[in-house]
Structures are given as structure tokens and as C-alpha cells.
Amino acid sequence: MESTTPAGAPAADPARDAARDTESAEFDAVIAADGRIEPRDAMPDAYRKTLVRQMSQHANSEIIGMQPEGNWITRAPSLMRKAILMAKVQDEAGHGLYLYSAAETLGTSRAEMTDALLAGTARYSSIFNYPTPTWADMGAIGWLVDGAAIVNQVPLCRCSYGPYARAMVRICKEESFHQRQGFEILLTLSRGTTAQHEMAQDAVNRWYAPSLMMFGPPDADSSHSAQSMAWKIKRFSNDELRQRFVDMLVPQAEALGLTLPDDGLRWNEQRGHYDYGDLDWAEFKAVLRGEGQCNAQRLAHRRRAHEDGAWVRDAASAYAAKQATKDAARQEVSAA
């Protein structure tokens, strides 16, 4: 897939170069016309590589993201909440599946993406390295983490790569359902007993800043943004999306009766937006480096599930091979 890098390219082949120029012009024209690139269309290697990185990282995040919420399925405090939480975590597995499938259309197999995740060479959203010590974290994850994901992902429904854009349409619908469920958990807690209200406020205190950092570093420090925007994979900058999210949160926090832990938060009449305080990017980088509370735990859990399941996957392959042999033998007999 990455065999055609320009650096150190073999001897010139004018016919191949001409074909590549035509393909490149076609790709540029589709992007300029706001069209969709489909799996069989020609595309620059770097575009393909960027998409595989982004889509597999997104799929990995869904899969790792099952853990912090899975943590509360067996302890959910009512049967209705248990059912809703199970359905939500199941949706996340489903999102991981469509995203891996969409990424496979670019020529990288799910097995390769899984191996990269387990080897620690592919990333997942750093937010899932934070722990979920209380039930209110189920509300805060839904409201803040899924809320930030939606703001990030709605523009991806218009992403230039067709399979990714189409997968995102369905994912965004389900995410928006999850966000409302999270809001509703927090609202119930906020209006509940004093201890429940405090539990909700504590969770919001812990998840607010990490959720703002989900949009990535400030635009000036973002290494991938400019090229992704030129390719129309990304439509808005990190800071634009973060601002949109903060503007959305403030009135919702008021409705919840909870405060946002940000001394810098105030309406800026001139900008027509809320100002917000500085974020602790040193913490963000530390968690990215693996120094969050749960980095090692999340990856170890995923590796263990994969290793524990190896004998099952081997059995399914062995059974399928036996069935194929039997089918072939039956066909031979019936043909004879």
C-alpha cells in the first residue's frame, strides 16, 4: 500500500508518471467540487494513510471506550439504567465494527488494526484513560464525552471519504441518543438527594476539562489539522469545535443545576461566545504519553480479552475448514 513513496523511487517510468498525474488531477477535482472519494478511486498515499490512522483510532476508541462504562453494568442502580447502559455499550461495539469495516475499504485489515492497538502503536482517544469511580461518571461521560464526540463527529458526516462519512451518519444518531441519556442521568442525580447531587457535581468537575481537550491541541500546535482540512476530511479547526462545545455546555449546565469548574468561563459580548479558562495541556500530553490513571489497565484488559479468545477464534476457523472439506466431498459425490 505504501510502496509508491516518491523518495528513493526507482527509475523513471514516464507512462506511469502520466497516469499518476491524471489520477492526482481527478482526486483534486473531486475534493474541489466537494465530492466523495470512494474506495476504488485513486487517492494520494498520504490521504489513505491519514484516513486509516484516523478511522482506526476512532474504531479503537469505541472499543476501549466500552471499558469505563462496562465498569458499571453489573452495578447499575436500577434495572432500567442497567438496560440502557448495556444497550449503549453494545452500540459502542457496533460503532467499532462499522468503523473497522469502513477503514478496511482502504486496504488495511481489521486484524492489522487490532494488532496495532494491542501493540500500543495505534492510538485511541485519551479520554478513556480516565477512571469511572462513581455512577455519576455514566452521566458525565454521556453528557460531556459523547457531547464532545458529537460536536467533533457531525462535520465528519460530510467528510470527503464516502465510507467514513456514511458510517458517521449512523454513529452520530446513536451518539446523540447517548448524550441525552447522560444528561438525563445527571439531571436525575442533580435533583436527587444531597449525596446524589454531590456525586453528579464531582463527576462534572473531573470530566469537564478532559472533555474540552478531546478536540485536540490548540490550532497553533495541531500537527495534522491543516492537511486534513485541505482534504476536507476535517471541516473545522480544533479551537472552533471546542468553542462550539463550550457554548453548548453553559446553558445545559444551568438546566442541570450543576456548575462547570472553570473560573475563566464568562460570556464575551464582543465575540458572541463564552470565554473559557486555560486548559492543562501538560496533563493532556502526560496522559497521551501513557501516564494517565488507566492507560496500562485499558490496554491490558483489551490484550487479555483478545488472548483469552484466541482458542475460540481458532475453533471457529477449524470448524469452518472442516465444513468446507465436507461440502467439497459432498459435491464430488453428487457430481460423480
Partner: protein
């Protein structure tokens, strides 16, 4: 999708004054008396606790499955069981003045009525598939008959459940074949799984006076009558999967009568911990 269905489970108490089915030889009036209502609630709790405890075990699988497709499938099965549990506990509660959550979170292990098989720890994937095969086959036979119950509420719950457990049975059957007739290792694990759970199978098919009375009124299903059809369903699957049907003595059981499995207390300690920290709170 399933979470929307999950919110529709408040099984409405039926006046149970519908026509009695004519296929009971004893012409018993199926209109429950007050005593009948308590018996029906007890019967609904047995079925509901089976579903609830097994749903809890399925919930333990989330994010641990051998592949993503199985994470989706096992959770789906867990959600079906949880939906059945909510309908059955909701109905039992409507007859005795309690909510589904009071029944699920504020009864002790001595007050649960589930069979011991449901309480076994989740074990490996073979143990989960083996139990799912047995339970789904039993529930399929049960719910198919219960959908004809003279009690409209039970019949309605059963009519929905029978479609769900048909899928659970098919899922378990396919995996039993793959694991039983897959590799040497998977065959060994699947046989161990069946051997380990087999002593607990018998309890599912034991009947008692309460069930017999309700069965003669056309309300409940006589569990002892299900053993033959169950064996006829399971035996060919085990044979196709190259597995040996164990020949072991049945365990004493007692789950239906307040003699719970040792495993149940631990399961409830985890399931009930948060609800019991905040008694009376809404969630």
C-alpha cells in the same frame, strides 16, 4: 433500539379474568383468587429471577468477548433476558405491591427463586455457551407452552420471550458445534463445560405443589413435562458437536425454595451495592 424496548417493560397487571383455556381436563375456574395472585407472583418470580441472574452474568461479558461480533451478540442476549426479567418482576410486583427494582435490589439471596444453574460464575466462553444452550432450550420449551397460559400477562410475556430465546438457542447451537467439533482444545473445553453444568440441569425440570396447582388451572407450565422435549432438542446437538452427554447424578438444587446457590450472594452483593447505599433514592 433495545434500550427503548427496555423502557416499555412495566407489565400491566392483568385482571386475569380472560376466558380459561378449555384444554385443561379439570374444569378449574382460572380467575385467580387472592391466594392465586400470590402463587402467580411466586411463579413469575421464579422465571424472572432466572432471567435476571443470567442477564447479570451476560453483562459480565461486556468487553471481554473473543471477538467484537460476540460482544454485540452476548450483550444482545443479556438485554433480552433483562427485558424478560423486568416484565416478569414487574408483573410479580404488581400482584404484591412492589416495584421491579425493589424486587431486584432489596431482596436477599434467600428470597431469590432462581435455579442454581443461572448462578454459576460465567467461566470461559465454552461455559457460557454450554449454559446458554441448556437454558435457551429449556426456556424455549417453557415459553412456547406458557404463551397459551390462561393468565394473559404471563402469556404475553411468553409470546415475546419465545422469539428471543429461539435466537439464543440458535446462537448457542452454532457455537456448540464450532467448539465441540473445532480444535482439540475447544472440544476439551466444551466437554468440560457440559460436564460441569450437567448436575444442575435436573433442577430446571422439577415441579412442586404450587406449580402443579397453577398448571392445573392452565396458568403455569408443568416443568417436569418439559424434560422429554428438552432432551429431544439437546441430544442431537451434542451428538453433532461430537460431545458426550454426561451421565452424572443430579445436584440437590433448592433455588426455587430459598436454598440458594453459594454463588448467588456474591452476584447480588455486586448487583445491589449501589442501590443499597442509597435506599429510597431515585435513579
Amino acid at each position: 433500539m433495545t434500550s427503548q424496548a427496555a423502557t416499555q417493560q412495566a407489565a400491566t397487571p392483568q385482571a386475569a379474568n380472560g376466558p380459561a383455556t378449555d384444554n385443561t381436563s379439570s374444569a378449574v375456574d382460572a380467575t385467580p383468587t387472592a391466594a392465586d395472585s400470590r402463587d402467580i407472583a411466586e411463579y413469575a418470580l421464579r422465571l424472572g429471577d432466572d432471567a435476571l441472574v443470567l442477564a447479570q452474568r451476560m453483562g459480565e461479558w461486556v468487553s471481554h468477548a473473543p471477538e467484537l461480533e460476540e460482544d454485540v451478540a452476548l450483550t444482545n442476549i443479556g438485554l433480552d433476558l433483562l427485558g424478560q426479567a423486568r416484565a416478569l418482576l414487574g408483573y410479580a410486583g404488581s400482584l404484591t405491591g412492589r416495584t421491579e427494582d425493589e424486587l431486584a435490589y432489596f431482596r436477599s439471596d434467600l428470597e431469590f427463586r432462581c435455579a442454581h444453574l443461572m448462578c454459576l460464575p460465567r467461566g470461559d466462553f465454552a461455559a457460557t455457551i454450554g449454559r446458554m444452550l441448556v437454558v435457551a432450550a429449556y426456556q424455549w420449551e417453557l415459553y412456547e407452552r406458557l404463551s397459551e397460559s390462561a393468565d394473559e400477562a404471563l402469556a404475553g410475556i411468553a409470546r415475546k420471550a419465545v422469539k428471543e430465546v429461539a435466537y439464543h438457542l440458535e446462537h448457542a447451537r452454532m457455537w456448540t458445534l464450532r467448539l465441540g467439533d473445532g480444535t482439540d482444545e475447544s472440544h476439551r473445553r466444551m466437554q468440560v463445560a457440559i460436564d460441569d453444568l450437567w448436575p444442575l440441569v435436573d433442577e430446571l425440570f422439577r415441579t412442586d405443589e404450587l406449580e402443579q396447582q397453577l398448571a392445573s388451572a392452565g396458568i403455569a407450565v408443568d416443568s417436569s413435562a418439559l424434560r422429554g422435549p428438552f432432551d429431544a432438542l439437546i441430544d442431537p446437538i451434542l451428538a453433532d458437536a461430537t460431545l458426550t452427554r454426561p451421565d452424572v447424578p443430579p445436584a440437590a438444587g433448592g433455588g426455587r425454595h430459598g436454598r440458594p446457590s453459594e454463588h448467588l450472594g456474591h452476584l447480588l452483593a455486586e448487583m445491589q451495592v449501589l442501590a443499597r447505599q442509597f435506599p429510597g433514592a431515585s435513579w
